[in-house]
Symmetry: none
Subunit: 218 residues, 2 copies
């Protein structure tokens, strides 16, 4: 394996510099460059394509998800290792789907980063426990979606006002707070809520939030 070029994208300077030193200490690495957001990274990749990118997700201007999508579309040979703080399975699954090559938590060991770099170059992918979990969960979710394809045609659609109220409910506001926000009586909001519940055949708040998610309202 010839010596590698690695780019690091992260908004925290100290993390970036620290990672930079770590990566430079890996024998296989020839050059390391840094970007502090997705946009900057994209400009750098346009100039010169690295072998591997260590990509943070939380970044201003352009986040890691958007940057990953764009880079994979334009430069399919660049391997992307996503670094994240949290392991929300949904996100991991999404990133894997759009073609990220590895997924590491920020509290991984430096050794694991090294392994991941070697693996994405050699095998195009680095599989660890986090990824396996996410794929399993994702596969189950997909299967569920196919099975439980609900029919919404019968349910009366929500009116604009009702949608508005439902959205505010989904922001964890009480009826009173929503009334204040919309300059309406608390009673009116309660009334709207009751109608929504009937229309959606919901037993309680949970049913409302679930509908909002599944209908794409939030």
């Amino acid at each position: 394996m010839s010596k590698l070029t690695v780019y690091i994208a992260d908004d925290q300077t100290l993390f970036r510099k620290g990672m930079s030193r770590l990566v430079k200490s890996f024998g296989q690495v020839k050059e390391v460059k840094e970007a502090e957001n997705g946009k900057e990274l994209l400009a750098m990749v346009k100039e010169q394509q690295p072998d591997v990118i260590l990509m943070d997700l939380e970044m201003p201007v352009m986040d890691g998800v958007e940057a990953t999508e764009k880079i994979i579309a334009k430069y399919p040979d660049v391997k992307i290792i996503v670094l994240s703080m949290h392991d929300t399975q949904q996100h991991i699954f999404y990133l894997m789907e759009i073609g990220a090559h590895a997924f590491l938590l920020k509290n991984a060991e430096p050794e694991e980063v090294k392994e991941a770099i070697v693996s994405v170059i050699k095998h195009d992918f680095y599989q660890n426990q986090i990824v396996i979990e996410a794929l399993r969960k994702g596969a189950i979710d997909q299967r569920k979606q196919k099975q439980v394809r609900p029919i919404f045609q019968e349910t009366a659609p929500l009116t604009d006002r009702e949608k508005e109220v439902l959205q505010l409910i989904c922001r964890e506001l009480t009826m009173k707070e929503i009334g204040d926000k919309l300059a309406l009586s608390e009673k009116t909001i309660q009334n709207h809520r009751a109608r929504i519940m009937v229309k959606l055949n919901a037993r309680n708040t949970v049913g409302l939030v679930k509908y909002a998610y599944e209908s794409g309202l939030i």
Copy 2:
């Protein structure tokens, strides 16, 4: 100035290791040790007092605020440089009040960390723009209201039982129904629910369902 001992407390392994390398590259530093939370740090300090601690705020088990308070009370000679992601002035002011010696953002330059270390050893304090701003703001706020001790402890993940209860909540069951289903008291379920709400920082049912969706629990 004789050679210094520096401890680094941060829950993210990669950040910690990277910082460790950075700090070791500073000429004045002799020894660097790492802790992954406040509790571990406290144990290490008890064994041997360092000259300087680089302290992250967001940590599980014991956060940086609590650790700073305890260390300053017991070991007044140890200098503490707080590293944080966000520059919420109230928090900075609070930390300065309890005796932290410097406050840096995680997107500071490595050079600034070096300067801060030198300064806290020499002058007991490192003053930068962030601190000046916070002191100014804090002085104003103090007259308005009492200071509140900020909490940076990361939300503990849900236990198995809590996950189980949350999943049943997301099936639109009431606490009573969940109690019957699991052969437990309704009170116990209410108790679980309350704990979950605290952990997830939810105001009501909505917050629970949203977490369940976003974490892939449903």
